[in-house]
Point group: C2
Chain length 212, copies 2
């Protein structure tokens, strides 16, 4: 009853890899199924065979790594919480924002495993028609919800409304950096050069910490 599917698995994964990259660089409508299949060296009908439809492919690209990144974020959060408890203090704003921003920014620099493509894909998916991609939004929202109580704890004077607004701004800093990191040299007339992922992350964390 068990079939090897070795070639099939490869084709399926190859399609996912390729479309992740293509959807990261262009909108859903601007990337055609034919572009995907020819780039992945598979037959045209493979997309519909494996994913039912173009939209199905898009969602499959999203789902493939959806849980992974948020797991990383929650992992960092847990780690910070544990360390703070051990030292008998509450989690700092810096630790919280660090946990929110480190995974996506580190992924952004991880060209090799395709994580960079996924993170850019995600940032773009946010701008696709809301009706089709509500799950994309809600998943990340759910994770950020878990951060709210800690923000409240470290700064009780802030209302829940204030906190969500600040989280919203942090997401802005994050998404914009993901979308335009490669153009920051152009923006600054080469005043800003390529940095390590840590340097970029630290710049963002510093900016957002003060904003909070």
């Amino acid at each position: 009853m068990k079939y090897k599917k070795s070639a099939g698995q490869n084709a399926k994964e190859r399609i996912l890899d390729v479309s992740e990259k293509l959807f990261a660089e262009g909108s859903f409508a601007s990337v055609s199924v034919r572009t995907v299949t020819s780039a992945a060296n598979v037959n045209l009908s493979a997309v519909n065979y494996y994913f039912g439809s173009k939209k199905g492919l898009f969602q499959a690209v999203y789902i493939r790594r959806a849980t992974l990144m948020n797991h990383e974020r929650l992992g960092l959060l847990q780690k910070a919480v544990g360390k703070a408890q051990q030292e008998g203090r509450s989690v700092s704003v810096r630790e919280l924002i660090n946990a929110m921003l480190t995974p996506p920014i580190f992924w952004l620099y991880e060209e090799e495993k395709g994580l960079s493509g996924y993170i850019r894909f995600l940032a773009r998916a946010y701008l696709e028609a809301a009706s089709d991609m509500e799950n994309v939004l809600s998943q990340e929202v759910d994770v950020f919800d878990k951060f709210v109580p800690y923000f409240q704890e470290v700064n009780p004077s802030l209302s829940v409304e204030d906190i969500y607004w600040r989280i919203h701004f942090i997401m802005g800093v994050m998404h914009h950096t993901i979308n335009h990191l490669d153009r920051i040299g152009l923006l600054s007339h080469t005043a800003c050069s390529v940095e390590t992922r840590e340097q970029t992350r630290d710049r963002m964390v510093a900016f957002c910490c003060e904003g909070f």
Copy 2:
């Protein structure tokens, strides 16, 4: 030699109005010429007649109000500079950021004149293929360049690199708010409700000031 063109002007403007809105809500590729023309109640060929091509229409939408907003920004900058000179001090960070953010955010709330559509159109145009829309980017970049010396003056310890990174983050806060203002209620589980344009602007300015 002079022709009235009254109906023509109306049709042309109507096309621009409609496509501004449509391009604000969907990507370039996802908005078809037929959708535009039928929404504008004009003949299908009107787009090619007036603008040469679909891309020509897109750029026309951009150009129509491009100078206006940056004029507003520079006006606010000049005003702040004049006031500061009169009071014998240098321009504050708050005044600078205020001049950068007030025009786009106020426009965002200006549903009536279509300015809201334009500002959302602009934010989306940033994500279109860079090769086609480089002028969109460069125009705003040119304006922000004019702010750099003042940021340096008020905070001489910052390098040009630092300043551009912060401007980049401010643009992130701005773009994200433009793109997702209507979804902030969803993000916050209705903790955040609709605010006045001044309230939203002040939140953004406050966050970015501290970040700077």
